[in-house]
């Protein structure tokens, strides 16, 4: 099945710093989503981004489908950005389920 690799596995930042999280996947996809799981376990959808670039406030994401990777940019990080960031893709074309990566655990210190 499809492999989803996220890097780095852990990231510690000072408040105000910028960061880039990466998601590599092993096969072509028509659906890629980024999620943030906060320290209380709530999973929030950040982006639905099978290709191209999207921005939402301090966050933006870019997916280069032909090269099988996606990047999540966090600018001017805040302590509330702490948590685990997951990317997820379908295991094969036409499938509705998503396979999640192992996540990047982000800690933003004040």
């Amino acid at each position: 099945g499809i492999q989803v690799e996220q890097s780095p596995p852990d990231l510690i930042l000072q408040e105000g710093a910028n960061s880039t999280l990466r998601c590599n996947f092993s096969d072509s996809v028509n659906n890629l989503q980024w999620f943030h799981q906060n320290p209380w376990g709530q999973l929030i959808n950040l982006f639905y981004i099978p290709s191209g670039t999207k921005q939402n406030g301090r966050l933006s994401a870019t997916t280069v489908a032909t090269e099988r990777y996606s990047l999540l940019y966090i600018s001017s990080s805040q302590t509330t950005d702490s948590g685990v960031y997951f990317c997820a893709v379908p295991p094969q074309g036409g499938s509705e389920k998503l396979v999640f990566g192992k996540g990047t655990k982000l800690t933003v210190n004040p």
Partner: protein, 113 residues
């Protein structure tokens, strides 16, 4: 409702008992998913409904697990003869249509003692 609602938020049960977990999706969302998340891992797919039918149940680990969505809205995940290995957070998600953003509920934390 405003978001995906799951009840109960916590469930503690004894090994061998039967449990039901409920999910109320966002109003109007036709697609509903169940995932399971163990500590330190990403969510793992269990089952997907499009309307009332289970379109993909390939993630259900064995026949002790079953899910229904009789009227195309609320869904119930049923686990028979629970085992300690079933302990996890069970997450429900819904989306407006196929291939659209998934919205998760807060999950039910199941503990089997």
């Amino acid at each position: 409702g405003a978001g995906v609602s799951q009840t109960p938020s916590n469930k503690v049960t004894e090994k061998g008992k039967y449990v039901e977990l409920r999910c109320d999706p966002i109003s109007g969302h036709t697609a509903l998913y169940w995932y399971r998340q163990s500590l330190g891992q990403g969510p793992e797919f269990l089952i997907y409904f499009q309307g009332t039918g289970a379109a993909d149940d390939s993630g259900l680990p064995n026949d002790r697990f079953f899910a229904v969505r009789p009227e195309g809205s609320v869904s119930t995940l049923k686990i028979q003869r629970t085992e300690r290995g079933d302990s996890a957070v069970y997450l429900c998600a819904s989306s407006l249509t196929r291939n659209s953003p998934l919205h998760f509920g807060n999950g039910t934390r199941l503990t089997v003692t």
